[in-house]
């Protein structure tokens, strides 16, 4: 087992990883940018090192400075969290070259999963159903237009190098494509450092359901059930739950098997997620492999009773595992992402200082957050403030706990998604499990983009 781990991330996930390390008796090193000097993740770690200016390209994406910090502090392994360098195969490879353990998949896994186009081709060959898309990255507006015409509008521009909804733009026609292409490229570059885009057929009103995978180095692969991630805004998940109210046991079994097949097809190692789109006729399509710990992993943890970060660390350290036996989920879990965004202003980000902060508590509640009273939200990083998770025996119970918890949760004066989540918890369609990815438009009518 590692004795010291450097956490190459910030925010709630940095705290979450530090907590598991502490329980495993592993020392931690936090890294931070100049904009994050007052960030909570520094306080939970045993040591902390500044790795550069606020711009994440010069700090959280700066591999050289991260390695320097790891060498100076004597860290043995690096946990990349999610986002930033988590899915960079060159970073993972450099970690290993420099003698550090990389807590995540193999560089080869990351290379395949990170190239959405190659991944899709491999899935197709393995017999996993896929969505029609461009045969390679589109380097220019002209190429994007040719591919879009071949596939047929509406199309989606997506990041070839990273997930999380960054850079995704739906284009109804060639004019929209011409306007959105450069902006999507900017967003993608800012988030992943790789501006490559590809085009995919836009499937209207699907469900988004993913399966958690764990695999050891010998190829023993299991799935830990699904996460229903259909409720999204701007292609970013807002509410996740496990299990999915939509899946029949037959469909769950088919998709679970497909997820394991997908992971095995690329000799996947460690924790990962296979994302699917499911249409109204119960057809499911492989969307992408998320080769990292997911933001929404806690709902799997609470239903399965398993700490996924500890599993990641154990697997990466080479600890003989042998416990990759399927687990039975217990009860129902829901996660609400509390973002610093104003749902009434088209989810515009809301930077500012947290002057009022009262976290909720009680039975069946988990709160993963880096907030504290007086914390000034940096403009440089994403708007996720907290992940609020409720767990109960039934979906109805989990919704009731979530509602009560949201009512208790006070964050101000920064606008957050709390009032929106409350509306959703009260919505009859949500309560009935009757929704698709366009659900949010019903709660917040989309404002015109002109």
């Amino acid at each position: 087992m590692f004795s010291k781990i450097l956490i190459a991330n910030r925010g709630e996930i940095a705290l979450r990883i530090a907590r598991s390390c502490r329980e495993l008796g592993i020392k931690t090193v936090a890294v931070y940018s100049e904009a994050d000097r007052a960030s909570l993740h520094l306080k939970l770690a045993d040591e902390s090192v500044c790795i550069g200016p606020p711009d994440s390209r010069k700090s959280y994406l700066n591999a050289e400075n991260i390695f320097k910090a790891a060498h100076e502090t004597g860290a043995e392994a690096i946990h990349p969290g999610y986002g930033y360098l988590a899915e960079s195969h060159t970073f993972a490879l450099a970690c290993l070259d420099q003698g550090f353990g990389f807590i995540g998949p193999t560089p080869q896994n990351l290379k395949i999963a990170g190239d959405k186009i190659v991944a899709r081709e491999m899935m197709e060959n393995a017999g996993v159903p896929v969505i029609l898309g461009s045969s390679g990255p589109v380097g220019s507006i002209g190429e994007a237009r040719i591919e879009s015409e071949r596939i047929g509008y509406p199309v989606m521009l997506k990041s070839a190098g990273g997930g999380g909804g960054r850079g995704i733009r739906v284009c109804e026609n060639a004019d929209a494509l011409a306007e959105e292409f450069p902006i999507a490229g900017m967003e993608v570059r800012a988030s992943f450092g790789n501006g490559e885009l590809y085009v995919e057929k836009f499937i209207a009103d699907p469900r988004h359901i993913e399966f958690q995978i764990l695999a050891d180095r010998d190829g023993n692969t299991i799935h830990l059930g699904e996460r229903e991630c259909t409720i999204q805004r701007r292609f970013q998940k807002l509410i996740e739950e496990s299990p999915s109210p939509f899946l029949t046991s037959r469909l769950r079994e088919q998709m679970g098997n497909a997820a394991v097949t997908a992971a095995r097809a690329i000799h996947y190692f460690n924790a990962g997620t296979v994302e699917f789109l499911v249409d109204g006729n119960e057809n499911f399509y492989f969307m992408e492999m998320n080769a990292r710990i997911q933001v929404e992993h806690p709902i799997t943890e609470v239903t399965m009773g398993l700490d996924l970060v500890k599993e990641q660390i154990r697997l990466a350290s080479g600890e003989v595992h042998g416990s990759l036996s399927p687990l039975e989920p217990r009860g129902w879990a829901i996660e609400c992402r509390i973002n610093a965004e104003d749902p009434e202003r088209n989810f515009a980000p809301c930077p500012g200082t947290i002057k009022e902060y009262h976290p909720p508590g009680g039975f069946g509640v988990r709160l993963d957050t880096h907030l504290y009273q007086g914390y000034e939200l940096p403009i440089y990083y994403d708007s996720l403030l907290a992940k609020l998770i409720s767990h109960d025996r039934t979906r109805e119970g989990a919704i009731k706990i979530m509602k009560r918890t949201l009512e208790e949760f006070r964050i101000g004066p920064v606008k957050t998604t709390i009032p929106l989540h409350l509306k959703i918890m009260d919505d009859p369609d949500f309560q009935a499990g009757n929704f698709h990815t366009g659900f949010i438009k019903k709660i917040v009518p989309e404002e015109e983009e002109d």
Binding site: P182, A190, R345, A348, L377, I379, E447, D450
Partner: protein, 96 residues
């Protein structure tokens, strides 16, 4: 026009024919759609109403800064790739 835009394009009229375009929130100001591309507008450019003038990046989201009116760009007050505070001046437009 959405509410955000209304704020984005808060029009503080110094006099009848000059409009100030101020940052709707704190964020990083970009004059061009990509580092290797020319700026959206230069001083002296004639712009249409709702024409994109710049991008503002806040918490990883890029928002388009659009012109509140048709006119001529007479001042670009904000510096490319710098952090602006809420309400900081970006452009001054001489309205047609």
């Amino acid at each position: 026009m959405n509410r955000l835009e209304e704020r984005t394009l808060r029009e503080i009229e110094k006099d009848n024919d000059r409009k100030e375009v101020r940052a709707p929130m704190s964020g990083i100001f970009y004059r061009s759609p990509a580092p290797d591309q020319p700026p959206y507008v230069e001083i002296g450019d004639i712009v249409k109403k709702k024409q994109v003038l710049a991008l503002l990046e806040t918490m990883k989201v890029f928002q388009k800064v659009k012109s509140p009116a048709a006119g001529k760009i007479v001042e670009i007050a904000a510096v490319n790739e710098t952090a602006l505070k809420d309400e900081e001046l970006m452009f001054v437009i001489e309205v047609e």
